[in-house]
């Protein structure tokens, strides 16, 4: 068991019933767990939702969070996604100051490099959409900061274990570290 503090991505399949989000977030808060991000949405089965958590702590914290989650009656299954080969994404929307001219071109170039999209353009600012792993999203935020970020919103991370086919390590453009 490792005593080092790490970020773990947990994925919980939960019954899609009223109050389940409040129940889970309340449990995590009352037991003092440190949650970096929490994302929730319906799954392919409309009776079930999927919650993705990023938990900060050592292995014993992770073990307890997993067990306490599983103890909640409406939680169907908990998977430590980060212990496997997985894909994670975070979606970001950002308004950044971009007056027409050079600045705007520079920002457009950076958005392209980060494979983002400009989804709205105003007279003085543009809105950018970008998705990817956390460090990429974070890097993009740092690049934009000097231009003046006026508003920023993120979904929180979602994650999925990769399919167990062939050689996962070279799973196309989604290979670990590539995005």
């Amino acid at each position: 068991m490792s005593n080092t503090v790490q970020r773990h991505v947990l994925s919980a399949l939960v019954q899609n019933v009223p109050g389940v989000l409040a129940h889970i977030s309340g449990m995590l808060a009352s037991r003092g767990y440190n949650i970096d991000s929490l994302a929730v949405g319906e799954t392919e089965d409309n009776h079930l939702s999927r919650m993705t958590f990023v938990v900060v702590g050592d292995d014993s914290v992770l073990e307890q969070v997993g067990k306490q989650l599983e103890k909640i009656v409406t939680v169907v299954q908990v998977v430590d996604v980060s212990s496997r080969d997985f894909v994670e994404r975070d979606l970001l929307l950002m308004k950044v100051k971009a007056p027409a001219g050079n600045t705007r071109s520079e920002i457009r170039e950076l958005v392209d490099i980060f494979r983002g999209k400009i989804v709205d353009v105003g007279p003085q600012e543009i809105t950018v959409e970008i998705s990817g792993r956390e460090n990429k999203v974070q890097a993009f935020i740092e690049r934009m900061r000097p231009y003046g970020i006026t508003e920023l919103v993120r979904t929180g991370r979602i994650a999925m274990v990769r399919s167990k086919t062939e050689h996962n390590a070279s799973g196309g453009t989604e290979a670990r570290g590539a995005s």
């Binding site: 399949l13 009223p18 109050g19 009352s30 307890q64 009656v73 169907v76």
Partner: protein, 591 residues
Amino acid sequence: MSTARAGTDPQLMTGADILVKSLVDHGVEVLFAYPGGCSMPMHQALTRFGTSLRTILPRHEQGGAFAAQGYARSTGKVGVVMATSGPGATNLVTAIADAKLDSVPIVCITGQVPTKAIGSDAFQETPMVEVCRGITKHHYLVTKVSDLPRIMKEAFHLAQSGRPGPVLIDMPKDVQLGNLNEIDMDPAMNLPGYESVAPVVPSETIRQIAAAIKLARRPVIYAGGGIILGEASEELQQFVNKTGIPVTTTVMGIGAIPPEHERSMDWLGMHGAAYANYAVRDCDLLIALGVRFDDRVTGKVEAFAKDAKIIHIDIDGSELNKNKTAHIPVRGDVKQALTELNKVIEQPEIKDWQDHCEQLKAKHPLSYDQEFDGILQQHAIKVLSDVTADMDTYITVGVGQHQMWAAQFYKFRRPRTWLSSSGLGTMGFGLPAAMGVQAANPNSLVIDIDGDGSFQMNVQELATCFCEDLPVKVLLLNNQHLGMVVQWEDRFMGRNRAHTYLGPIHHEEAAGPSNADRFSYAENRYPDFVKIAQGYGCGAATIRDKCDLEPAIREMIAHKGPYLLDVQVPYQEHVLPMIPGGMTVDDMILE
């Protein structure tokens, strides 16, 4: 408990009728219910089911909920309590939290404002589900009558399976009044995430445990409430008989093994027997069965059994490695695990260790001053224990010094005969819990050993005892103080009295440094408990002299109805031994 009856009922029924019929189908014989605006339809329905279900009216909702606990703790069946919305419902909250910490199966039904009014801050509206999320095993807000049979079935299933606990069902008034026909009273449950049966402990784990035991030279069994809840005390005793391993229990585990058993080391922890704590300190293998390494047991957790390998078996996987890392963590039912172990276990070579434990026991017995010519609390309990030894007796307690002394000096020889709010430590538990025990066991002797502080927190339930023919006895150890807090003041706070005296505030004991002698009594006693009890219609007497104790106890037991025996005791007596909070066995205070 019988399971729900199958089949459909073609008759048109209201939600309230469905709820009550479901209670009957689930084998509920008694419930404790206090009506109000938003629960009246359910009470009306209760009258329609007449004799198949007894409804007891407590005098406070908390009393009702602790009575439901008393019913559940003494029988193992699900206790049921009902209250109206708002204040009625919130009055249940303490008892629900209590049931969660002590794993007591109860179903709590609360009235709620009509679904259309929910969220409007209506009269007597509280968001009960929100309030109770963290203190229930599960909770429901019923929004459709058609969901009700399934929810009732799930609630009973959840309350009593796996690690038991409280389940809340919040019933809006319109759901109670709504009609339904074509009712399937035994629908399928929808609990895809709930594992009601613990996994079978694999035979290789059993072999691993047996091997660890064989190698041990200084093993100790640390048995808890899981043994009682899991009905595993026979298996535990077999295990102890086969292995000869000394056994200590938690406060929740009292009754799992008779105190006269040659391997019994009584109970451990903050006020547990010194020999139990020493044995755990010195052991090389700790066999933890249905326990949770509570701080009142472990003290400083790093120092607890620090040289021992730990085997931890519990039905709740989240208890494994929570407070203390186990070398062999086993999720499973203790009864099943012990049954399998008993088939293969061999006696380890521990003669020296057994001798050592016997010596510890002889050297550090639980004791009190026998010479004192008044009545010490410990003495009152010991005499009660002797007098009732051959009777079918249940003991409930409040919280504080009297609770610890009852655990120390009353001999509990059967599981479920000792009822104590152990995890939450709720003062006022004793009298209403006794009421619930008496309702479940009408022919048994049920005694609430209480303190004057705890007793007054639910004193109103004397009315329930009288009016509902529940002949509960109260042995009141009346020292006019909050004794346990006084003890901490004496030990750790320079004897400065800070709101621990229960009489009028101009008394010298009410504030400031105390220089009272060891056997001081608080004079000008207040209130007059005999008059209070008599006012409620109960028998009552007060005593102070040692020679009066045994006859008074016999008179109390012989009394037909509820009875209160006010025993005047001094207030400077301390519960010993004591391991101060967060400290280790070596810091134990012995005198």
